[in-house]
Symmetry: C2
Subunit: 450 residues, 2 copies
């Protein structure tokens, strides 16, 4: 249990007006400080853990409910108090002032969770999951971050680390008996073991692609010539009984139009109004804008209409290299069934933004895309941020060095060193090894009050 | 205790992202319904009141703390549960969905407080105080609404009502013995008693002027010709180390520029940029704008500068009739001490928005204004809304009728009827007499979750 003499406090509910707001106080003096400004039936000092008391606070500023949590049975692992007052920012400000006047200080961003980590209540991956669950903007993001909070990723890392330590023990056993020139470990078996571990790590780090799409959302650019019905398609997608998450204001150079949830996944729709595709030359400004939107996109819907079926897509294909492109032909309400059946052969989805024709097929495509990106796999471990991804890659890199050393018949010390380095990278991941810089960089991204 | 079979639920913390959000469930099935979606160490059904339980909710959607309150020891007076989950709207939405799937329904605006009222936990004035404390935007508004929540106004009304019932009993005693033609009550004494009650009621209803200013804020119009430095004065007032509460967007015709707290009171500053004052004729548009801003204002700062000292204010005085007007002369940094001392004699405050000269004196004026309006009296009872004000006036009106009846030597029945009507108006005030329309009109103004 880490000792920290400072008692910290902050509003832990969202800012604004509501029925109630909650202030958390945590630290060795949390109960004593709260008791000084609270008048209830009895002193908080005598309160058992997980008990709620009704009374007045801060010279009768407000009526409150006060919850007492005794260490280690609290979020932070320290003595903690939660004050539930009326949801007014003047009230919360004044209560914080009284707490500070009695010896508490304002908590920094993420400081409650940092203390939970430092006190061993959660590991670093679980701490990151707390921030992720709060910031999640889709059902699947909540579910996946809850998995991480439940320790699924941590358990997988621990398993891999145990395999590694087993391999190290083999190498080190040989080192202990080095003078006797005995060979305890079969090089082939050792190589196999390490290769297997690399495979496990790479499988894990490959989930980062899904992780990024799940947590940051899928960027979807709608491209095409003017007047092919891009805006109508946008509206059709938005109105199709799916919840609009928000209208996010963007920059003038690259406007994010809307965010929507499709099959529980967050899609961010980009406008590319300037795109001009023609058989001769793509206008300069059009290319610029297209590049901007398309380079940020994970998925592109390219819209043509019945007047432009024959347009050549060579230039367009250069800029959409490595992107998943859905080609749609709009305004198909104007076509006969005969022509429609011809189009279907050409790997283009015929739609009508006006009537809704073909939109189901488009959504089917979205669903396939989401599934192909591992949104709904049974797999419960998911790498969700670049820190985790990098640590895994570093571990993998060290293990590849180890295999090289084995191949080159280098001394066991070198092999052991590479394996130990890989273990340390895994320990960094879960926070068993850490330093102030890493912790600050992680917790400063939290909101105040978490 | 009112029986209401429906169990209701709502998020009671402000909307948005935060460390935690809280959902309240209230009603006879609150504990049973919560227990269905909660998995902790033990069943909530066995929980004592005011106890907190840690566990999982809604198919492991989130980790939560659940607080149990047993009737009558809850806000509503009914069995209640508060679920503290991560502060994410997807999480709260899904928990509400599970609660609804298990038999709860979403609470209407103000429904928790309405139940608290109907179950006799608080009277109607206290219920209104709950909404006021949440919406308070200044320290003094919080303090005054807390007084009302503590029942100070209710107690005063009850005292007045008791005086009235005493007077009624005198009249009715006489009625009981009417056949014997005895005179139990001295008409002069009765008149005095009723007049005294009218005085108490009028004293109370006269606090509504303060109440309105305290809760809605003091509208302050800054008027004056163009280029006299109105905007500089505005900026000087705003930057003078006082907190800016908010920038409220207004209409184009009448722009509210800023809201600030001065000596704990909320001031709303109005721009009157179009005002043209001249010796010949006030331009039509200028008058219109001036009327709009000035008619809404409680206080006017009229700014002139050193070039316009001699301007005639007759026209201006017509439109500021019955308003408190502070006359300031700006740009006094350009004047010599001699001229400044001359100005002081003329009841005009010399200031310099540029250097800050004279601004202290302006704030002294604000402080006097606030004190003169009863913001900081020792008086703890305050009429805060038009419903209360009207009920008091109705009571007062009935009592005046009673006095007329006494004067006219009318039968005791008439006097008793007038006095009874006054009592009923006081009972409406505290909610002892009420009807659905009144209740709906009061509680529909609350926020959801309160």
């Amino acid at each position: 249990m880490l000792k920290n003499d400072e008692t910290i406090c902050a509003v832990i509910t969202p800012p604004g007006i509501g029925a109630i707001s909650v202030i958390r106080i945590s630290g060795s003096k949390a109960i004593a400080i709260s008791d000084k400004i609270f008048k209830g039936k009895s002193s908080l000092k005598k309160s058992p853990t997980h008990a709620i008391h009704y009374g007045y606070i801060s010279d009768n500023l407000d009526n409150v409910l006060v919850s007492v949590f005794r260490e280690p049975h609290s979020y932070t692992g320290e003595d903690s108090v939660e004050i539930s007052c009326h949801g007014n920012q003047i009230v919360t400000k004044k209560i914080l002032e009284s707490l500070r006047a009695n010896g508490a200080r304002l908590a920094e961003a993420g400081e409650f969770t940092k203390r939970a980590f430092l006190n061993g209540k959660i590991d670093l991956l679980q701490a990151e999951a707390v921030a992720e669950i709060i910031q999640s903007r889709s059902d699947i993001a909540v579910k996946r971050s809850k998995n991480q909070l439940d320790g699924f990723l941590s358990k997988k890392i621990t398993t891999i680390r145990d395999y590694l330590i087993e391999a190290i023990s083999l190498v080190e056993l040989e080192l202990d008996f080095a003078e006797e020139d005995l060979e305890f470990v079969d090089k082939t078996i050792l190589t196999e073991k390490v290769q297997n571990i690399i495979k496990l790590i790479n499988e894990l780090s490959s989930t980062f692609k899904s992780g990024r799409l799940i947590f940051e959302g899928i960027n979807l650019a709608i491209t095409g010539r003017p007047n092919v019905g891009k805006s109508s398609l946008l509206n059709r997608l938005l109105n199709d009984d799916r919840a609009i998450v928000s209208e996010t204001p963007g920059t003038t150079r690259d406007i994010i139009k809307e965010e929507i949830l499709i099959f529980g996944a967050l899609f961010r729709l980009f406008d590319t109004a300037g795109l001009r595709l023609s058989t001769d030359k793509i206008e300069e400004e059009g290319v610029k804008r297209a590049y901007q939107a398309i380079s940020k996109s994970d998925l592109v819907i390219h819209v043509t209409d019945i007047d432009n079926i024959s347009e050549k897509l060579e230039d367009f294909q250069i800029i959409t290299n490595n992107k998943t492109v859905i080609k749609v032909i709009n305004k198909c309400d104007l076509l006969t069934t005969d022509i429609l059946s011809q189009i279907k052969d050409k790997d283009i989805i015929p739609i009508s933004a006006l009537t809704g024709y073909g939109i189901d097929e488009l959504f089917k495509f979205f669903e396939e895309f989401i599934n192909s990106k591992g949104f709904y796999t049974e797999e419960t471990s998911l790498v969700t941020n670049i820190r985790q991804f990098n640590a895994l890659n570093e571990a993998s890199f060290s293990l590849k060095n180890a295999i090289e050393s084995i191949k080159d018949n280098r001394s066991g010390e070198f092999i052991a060193l590479d394996l130990r380095t890989a273990v340390n990278h895994l320990k960094e991941l879960t926070g068993e090894i850490t330093n102030d810089d890493i912790l600050n960089s992680i917790f400063s991204k939290f909101c105040i009050g978490k």
